[in-house]
């Protein structure tokens, strides 16, 4: 079945949106589960697949891509506003 969010690596706590997902939309994850979007997730952006607390690592490709700047709930949009990447 067609999915809305691609989980690249089983270790990841974020997935990539393959379509625009409206707030409240029940996104189908490629792993089979469904996660309700608590933010609007633009196409090709990242959605948290579990609760990520401030300071905790955000993982994509099985690797840490940065740390959460604030608590990010499952279904939340993850981008530069709430992700500290340590880069300028």
């Amino acid at each position: 079945m067609k999915h809305d969010i691609l989980l690249i690596n089983l270790q990841d706590n974020v997935g990539v949106a393959l379509v625009d997902i409206p707030r409240g939309g029940k996104a189908r994850i490629s792993s089979g589960e469904r996660v309700e979007a608590v933010d609007e997730i633009p196409y090709s952006h990242k959605m948290a697949l579990e609760d990520i607390r401030a300071g905790e690592p955000v993982r994509k490709y099985g690797e840490e891509i940065g740390r959460a700047l604030s608590d990010i709930p499952r279904g939340g949009w993850v981008h530069t506003h709430n992700l500290h990447t340590g880069e300028q």
């Binding site: 067609k2 090709s44 952006h45 940065g66 990447t85 300028q88």
Partner: protein
Amino acid sequence: MSGHTFKGFVRPDGSAGIRNHIAVIPTVSCAAGVAANIARAVPPAVPLLHGHGCGRALEITMHQQVLAGLGRNPNVAAALVVGLGCETVQASSVAAEIAKTGKPCEFLVIQEQGGSRKTTEKGIEIVMRFQKHAQALQRSECPVSRIVMGLECGGSDAFSGITANPAVGLVSDWLVECGGTVVLTETTEMIGTEHILSRRAASPEVAARVEHIISQARRRTHDILGPLASCVIAPGNMDGGLSSIREKSLGCIVKGGGTPVTQVADYGQEPSSKGLVIMDGPGYDMESLAGLAAAGCQLIIFTTGRGTPAGFPLVPVIKVASTGRLYKLMEDDMDIDAGGVLDGGSLEDVARDLKALAVEVMNGEPTKAERNNQDGILCLAVMTPAF
């Protein structure tokens, strides 16, 4: 896993070619016309035309190694080196390096032969002899552990890093598990991942080399582009949902899979280790392909999002399209459609198709780039202007 085999041409040094080419290698662009004439007269021969071989200082050793490496590539059954005479890269040295593999190799020098016509005639004689030798060779069963597979991405789009590249990564892991070698290059596209790749290094020495080449690439990018260096990521990539250079680079290095980094090789250098090897090299596709071929890769997997027809004269290049849209748009040039991942398929599905095709190509099935004769001028990496 390790039971996988292909039918290859076993060379005297024990390496296994998946093609059986006769290479005609000019040492310098001044000899390109003669090399082209020789190859034209004996059609299966492949002329490796390039614009280098003289007028440089820093690159000379590297270019000499690269040209020799192309002749040494297991896909080459025999090689003829054509020099002019007064150039910096000498035909005798290149031929001597190739001859160490035990395959037939000869050289001609235009200024010694008495001009282009005489050299061409002599060259045709030699290549016809090589052709008889090559025709007598038969494919035989070889373990895939003898495969050195190069990785390349070019004309990437927002999907390259989530469809094509992770699928290729699964195939890389498979080949490494089978005892083969995978070469990941394009150091510029590793910027931001030095701590990840160095953590995966097999030894502290390899880790230090990984960090060194990536920090050099970072500095070079800044030196060349200045404030524009940040454009490598922003703003287009940011709009596309990538939050950092590291995240973008992770989408590139994922092609190499998740096994330890066993060695860092120079541009065009043959790896001495099995497993996942990083080759320090530029992000420019065409220079990268030449470096991978010189390093002895018999097969190259090339992921693309925008689409490119480019191939390489000696080495089959398999094109993996990041979306079904690109695959349909450029079906004549694309071998594999990774876009199924966007339509409910899995990365494993794409990896299975790619692996199956890779084995067919090892056994002799031509790639789209080969069918389309995508073998033009070679681009060799340079660091300095010519004098």
